[in-house]
Amino acid sequence: MAIKLPIYMDNHATTPVDPRVVEAMLPYFNEKFGNAASRNHSFGWTAEEAVENARAQIARLINATPKEIIFTSGATESNNLALKGAAEMYREKGNHIITQVTEHKAVLDTCKRLEKYGYEVTYLPVGKDGRVDLDDLRRAITPKTILISIMYANNEIGVVQPIAEIGKIAKERGVLFHSDGVQAAGKIPVDVQKDNIDLLALTAHKIYGPKGCGALYVRRRNPRVQLSAIIDGGGHERGMRSGTLNVPGIVGYGKAAELCQNEMAEESARLRGLRDRLKDGLFAKLDEVYINGSMVHRLPHNMNISFAFVEGESLLMGINDVAVSSGSACTSATLEPSYVLKALGVGEDLAHTSIRFGLGRFNTLEEVDYVTNRVIEVVQRLRELSPLYEMAKEGVDLSKMNWKAAAEH
């Protein structure tokens, strides 16, 4: 089979919209264009019916009821609503929030802002495997704790947190549990009942749906979770999120959720096979490669590898017909290497050499083999160019070198 270049293997960033999703959305742009809040004509009823159908599809994916799904503009907004909404609503009860260091910026920066407003936030560390320690969590809970926010699976390293155990602890201690479920929902089984999740942030574009459309699961029973709105207006979405609903986006999101649910078992096994083939292929031909994060508790389609002595951006430049991403500082907006890898205790030298592969629904075995060979070829070429690889092969202990002195020569 001929391979079409460039190859997209960055599915943690976003995913293409599935053609079946596009098809479901199309009538809702110009044919069935009504406002779902219009209560007095058929245009509105048609739109409302479509939205309610999608709400049920999304609810089924996470074992929730439709009324517990609040539509938003995406997971950043959902995380903001969960944290700020709960913080304000439960202020009387306490001002303490627990999260952890490898969360997405949508959670970390929201927590930073809440700290400015007088809330106290505990940022739990993670182990070398990328997971939080449950005893750390237990110890962090105080009578003032109102919310625990721990992501389901990480966007860089794909590490899945012990969610069911965290949910159990939160429930026992009477603390609300919010999870950023963006990378996990639709990819691995997520069950808000089994996991005792009270709030769950979701988005469409990571599951082959459209961008600009997300949701927040808000538990209605045992306990009934209440949130203060952060966007005020017409009182849509049970008053928690005003604004005219993005009907075509929501219809697409619902369809995308349904497809993920129907195909999950087969698809996750297929992706795991491809991911392991990629990993084994790279390890067979290259020395000094390291996997970042737990291999056991990991999304089936994620692989994050450090190729020691080869800087990430230069590797991306070499495999320019393959779209992946790097934890190297040179590829980040902040010019700092990945804070997630740093939290795992990965040295900055290795963080600069990390590459994230995110496999997806449309990747094929032929593509995986092509990418494997391209990466091997470019890593070998760049190592020939790397003074560090040469020094390491000569037996120089690079960690013991006085680099500052060398630079000041």
Binding site: P337, P387, L388, H409
Partner: protein
């Protein structure tokens, strides 16, 4: 980020990649940067002690495409120049030649530092082993 054609050319066809014997008294080695910062350049030059002309230059670089290109270009530029002339190469010359964007200026600074460090190393060696020049002259 889009790279200039010259950066891509140096990245794909780096000039003068390699290693010179660093014990050679006529070889100066400059090793600058740090793995933690994502850039390490090693620039080496073989200098004729009589004429002070840089007869050979080799590099190896761990770093982004712009760092590789900056050091590759530096080896091209120093070759055939005297030590004195090589010291006049400024990082801004490299920025201009490779059309480096502002975020990549540190790559050019590192290349200039590598040239200077290699020459300092060579001078230090000559000071320590006065025999070096005599041997080379014969």
């Amino acid at each position: 980020m889009a790279y200039s054609d010259k950066v891509v050319d140096h990245y794909e066809h780096p000039r003068n990649v390699g290693t010179l014997p660093k014990e050679d008294p006529n070889v100066g080695t400059g090793l600058v940067g740090a793995p933690e910062c994502g850039d390490v350049m090693r620039l080496q030059m073989k200098i004729n002690p009589a004429t002070q002309v840089i007869e050979e230059a080799k590099f190896k670089t761990f770093g982004c495409g712009s760092a590789i290109a900056s050091s590759s270009l530096a080896t091209e530029w120093v070759k055939g120049k005297t030590v004195e002339e090589a010291l006049t190469i400024k990082n801004t010359d490299i920025v201009r030649e490779l059309s480096l964007p502002p975020v990549k200026i540190h790559c050019s600074v590192l290349a200039e530092d590598a040239i200077k460090a290699a020459i300092v190393d060579w001078k230090k060696k000559r000071a320590e082993t006065p025999a070096a020049s005599a041997t080379a002259n014969t």
